[in-house]
């Protein structure tokens, strides 16, 4: 048994994707923790931007929502909702966007809208929020998710936001400014797009077998020739998460 939870595994691997100086459009929960972990390790100059209109937040407590007052006090700037989407995101001032969603397909397209028919929904999900624009305009998009067949279906019920559409060429032709879905971090490993834009298994976490990843993916998952093994969470990363960032284990205790 590993001595870390799957939520910790996801958060730590997400933090490692972030670079010093990145301007990150952050969500609540694990992405928020990943950004704070990166800031305390290898990316002290990472800038956190929240879609509620907060730039350079330094939250003193864990925010439950992306509009928490702790994000405002001590921030660099606060602007309107129109400004955050127009001046920051559409203008190309966001490096990284963290995505969420119920379904993701092999080309990194996401459904956050509906299960079943749109007009007669079986399950109505919250909808786009900012994800339609983040997916199109952030330089790099990442997604953290448990690795299950339900999350990775062969076909989406609804395409809320664009990954590589039906392949990298189609995204290029659509002339979107951002680079698209560049990594999906799961509790089993890492998926990254190949030349065609298809998500392939590029790394496994320690102790995970290739078959587990394939069995839990709804499409015929390709495996990279040089499959890597991610470095196990380090003691220091776990200490920062557990002692400083989420001492009550609100987000990190359970499985992702």
């Amino acid at each position: 048994m590993a001595d870390y939870t799957s939520s910790e595994l996801l958060t730590i691997n997400a933090a490692r994707l972030l670079r010093d100086g990145d301007r990150v459009f952050v969500g609540v929960g694990l992405p928020n923790l990943a950004c704070n972990l990166a800031r305390r390790t290898h990316a002290p100059n990472l800038l956190m931007i929240y879609e509620a209109g907060v730039i350079g937040a330094q939250p003193k407590r864990l925010p439950l929502s992306i509009g928490d007052p702790t994000l405002v006090s001590g921030a660099l700037s606060v602007c309107s909702m129109y400004d955050i989407f127009a001046f920051y995101l559409q203008r190309g001032n966001v490096d990284v966007g963290f995505m969420g969603g119920a379904q993701i397909d092999r080309f990194g397209n996401i459904n956050a809208t509906v299960i079943g028919d749109y007009d007669h929904p079986k399950v109505r999900l919250p909808g786009s929020g900012g994800s339609m624009e983040i997916a199109a305009w952030a330089n790099r998009c990442y997604l953290l998710t448990p690795h299950t067949k339900r999350r990775f279906p062969e076909k989406l019920d609804f395409r809320t936001s664009a990954g590589f559409l039906r392949g990298r060429a189609e995204r290029q032709a659509a002339n979107l400014r951002g680079g698209g879905m560049l990594a999906v971090v799961t509790d089993l490993g890492l998926m990254e797009p190949d030349d065609s834009g298809e998500l392939v298994l590029t790394a496994l976490h320690p102790g995970v077998a290739v078959e587990q990843a394939c069995e839990n993916t709804g499409w015929d998952l390709k495996v990279a020739k040089e499959l890597q093994v991610t470095e196990a969470p380090k003691a220091e990363e776990l200490r920062i998460l557990r002692q400083d960032l989420d001492p009550s284990g609100i987000y990190l205790k359970g499985s992702a």
Partner: protein, 300 residues
């Protein structure tokens, strides 16, 4: 000229059955006190527009005020599903019209600035544009490329809560400023509620903080704690416990109805609601002071 009137009178006078209502506030300053007054006055057939319907529209939909919702993110922020709006939509009992956040806010921006529509760069996702014919793609007349456009949103009435305003409705807002200004300028009528009504001199001492000028405001109501369980930056905290608790309350019709009976129909106004919350809640939501450095406008 003073526009200060009691909230009940403002709702009676300025919210009409069938109106398109925009109760502003991105997580911050959500005017729950006004939502509850609209429920008490049993307004109906409203079209409720908000980027995030939040608990305020969940409650108004549960109370039967709405025939339609317009939104861009229908969740309980940080908690999960917005159960009542969701179940009404799934049951086919509530009309809806849906955008992304940028689409929604661009509609308001067009309404607020007197434009017929607003352009946005394409996102190529496609499906939302396919199911909502308000999204159109047109040619940029300069480059020949595509831009996506959405039409102006012009609410019949906007409801905006602020930290402080003078009697004429000149309003100071700070913290997350979401879409209050846009909603107020886009709407035909504006109800402004404030934690504090202050002297005009206070407003004039810091004119850059005035996001809403009094001349577009119809009614000014002093409603302390209007935003609970949302919050007012610097005045009281967001009641995250209640947002979590609402997930249970709204999980069935009986508990939802008894919540409305006790906390909306069962109190006469916001002041009684706040007293009823009790000292434990008041203490929990108190916030310590952290003031900004003063700015010097200079004497000219």
């Amino acid at each position: 000229m003073s526009k200060v009137i009691p909230l009940a009178q403002a709702v009676q006078q300025f919210v009409r059955d069938g109106d398109l209502v925009y109760a502003a506030g991105f997580t911050h300053l959500i005017p729950f006190g006004v939502g509850h007054e609209i429920i008490r006055q049993r307004k109906h057939d409203l079209i409720l527009a908000r980027a995030t319907p939040d608990l305020i529209y969940d409650q108004m939909v549960a109370a039967g005020c709405a025939r339609k919702v317009i939104f861009s993110y229908m969740g309980n922020p940080g908690v999960g599903s917005l159960r009542l709006v969701r179940s009404e939509i799934e049951a086919g009992r509530l009309e809806w019209e849906e955008y992304s956040h940028f689409g929604m806010i661009s509609r308001l921006q067009a309404g607020a600035t007197g434009l017929p529509f607003m352009p946005m760069n394409p996102t190529a996702a496609g499906d939302l544009e396919r199911v909502n014919s308000n999204y159109r793609t047109v040619k940029d007349p300069y480059s020949g490329g595509d831009v996506v456009v959405v039409p102006a949103l012009k609410p019949d009435v906007a409801v905006v809560h602020v930290q402080r305003a003078d009697a004429d409705g000149n309003a100071h807002i700070w913290g997350i400023i979401g879409e209050q200004k846009e909603a107020a300028f886009a709407a035909a009528r504006v109800i402004l509620t404030a934690e504090e009504i202050v002297d005009e001199a206070i407003i004039r001492s810091d004119p850059n903080r005035t996001l809403i000028p009094g001349f577009i405001v119809d009614a000014v109501c002093q409603v302390p704690y209007c935003a609970h369980p949302s919050y007012t930056q610097g005045y009281y905290d967001r009641d995250n416990n209640f947002y979590l608790k609402w997930d249970e309350i709204s999980s069935n019709r009986e508990t939802t109805q008894s919540y409305l009976d006790e906390w909306v129909y069962g109190v006469c106004d916001r002041s009684e609601y706040w007293q009823k919350l009790g000292t434990e809640a008041h203490k929990r939501l108190m916030v310590a002071s952290q003031t900004s450095a003063p700015v010097d406008y200079g004497k000219y």
